[in-house]
């Protein structure tokens, strides 16, 4: 038999032996190996001892009024907890997945509104943008036309031009 400690992935065999879950034939093979392999023997003995100790351990008995005292303590805590903490705890104690999903959807909608929505151009410093000659000439064409048309409020001056 191949040594379970030396070969990877075979330690389960020793664990099964310790928990008495091997069939008789496999258990006999392991026992034969343990007789010849001090490492496996030491490992198995240590496990057996630990499990034996756990089997012997007895949990301390709960006092008869434990549950009543626990409820009183919770009720007392609720009385002394600030309202905001109580609201937060009632909110946080429950699964938040649906609420968080809704909040995420709303935030995405908000982001869409903010970024997709056309906004007025931010103010630009007069010298910040260089003037293109073509645009300037086109603007001057329009200005000439506006000048010829004249201001509605400046009838006489415009007619004189």
């Amino acid at each position: 038999m191949e040594c379970p400690i030396q070969s990877r992935g075979k330690k389960d065999l020793l664990l099964d032996y310790c928990s008495h879950s091997l069939d008789a034939k496999a258990a006999a093979e392991v026992e034969a190996h343990l007789a010849a392999c001090p490492d496996c023997k030491a490992w198995t003995d240590a496990h057996m001892r630990t499990w034996s100790l756990l089997d012997d351990w007895q949990a301390a008995p709960i006092s008869p009024d434990f549950e009543r005292r626990l409820r009183e303590r919770i009720a007392l805590d609720e009385v002394h907890t600030p309202w905001w903490k109580a609201v937060w705890l009632s909110f946080a104690a429950r699964p938040l997945k649906p609420a968080l999903s809704a909040a995420l959807v709303c935030l995405l909608l908000l982001a869409g509104l903010l970024f997709v929505r056309p906004r007025s151009a931010p103010p630009v410093h007069p010298n910040q943008e260089t003037i293109d000659a073509d645009r300037l000439e086109k603007a001057l064409d329009d200005v000439d036309l506006l000048r010829q048309v004249g201001a509605p409020g400046e009838t006489k001056a415009s007619e004189a031009m």
Binding site: A102, L110, A139, D142
Partner: protein, 166 residues
């Protein structure tokens, strides 16, 4: 319930941000207000060196022509330049189609007899004192339809459009 609370919370956070951006839409036909300086503002803010750099890139003939036009513009009285800047600001707020239409109408306006131009200017002056909805109402009123041809009414509309809303 939790979902309602979450949605209400998000809406509360969003409301002030959204409200900041809620400008009333301009009346139909009215130019939109545009932020930022016009090309004329930038032109006036240019230093002599910046202007030199702009002009020196141009072919000599074009450069001379542009220099002359700039000189003519700058020789206008400040009040006239201010008026033109205001009108240009309203003009640039138009859509490209509206601009092209306004250019065509202004050219047609210049072809009218001087007396008729005088009448239209006077009427445009009266309209410019009114808020946008009232201007629209008057231009399409039976009185205007009787006194002005359809093209003249369009011209009045365009003239009113380059006059800022009082």
């Amino acid at each position: 319930m939790r979902m309602l609370i979450a949605v209400a919370w998000v809406l509360l956070m969003v409301a002030p941000v959204a409200a900041q951006d809620d400008e009333p839409p301009p009346p139909p036909g009215a130019p939109r207000a545009l932020a930022g300086p016009t090309i004329l503002d930038r032109l006036e803010a240019m230093s002599p060196e910046q202007r030199q750099r702009l002009l020196e890139k141009l072919p000599p003939e074009r450069r001379q022509r542009l220099e002359a036009r700039l000189k003519a513009y700058e020789s206008l009285p400040q009040s006239e330049r201010d008026r033109l800047r205001r009108q240009f600001d309203s003009f640039r707020a138009m859509t490209p189609e509206q601009k092209e239409n306004a250019r065509r109408l202004f050219r047609r306006f210049m072809e009218l007899p001087p007396g008729r131009r005088q009448v239209l200017r006077r009427e445009a002056n009266r309209l410019s004192q009114l808020p946008w909805p009232r201007r629209e109402e008057l231009i399409s009123s039976p009185d205007f339809q009787h006194r002005f041809s359809p093209e003249e009414r369009q011209i009045l509309h365009a003239l009113a459009a380059i006059t800022p809303n009082p």
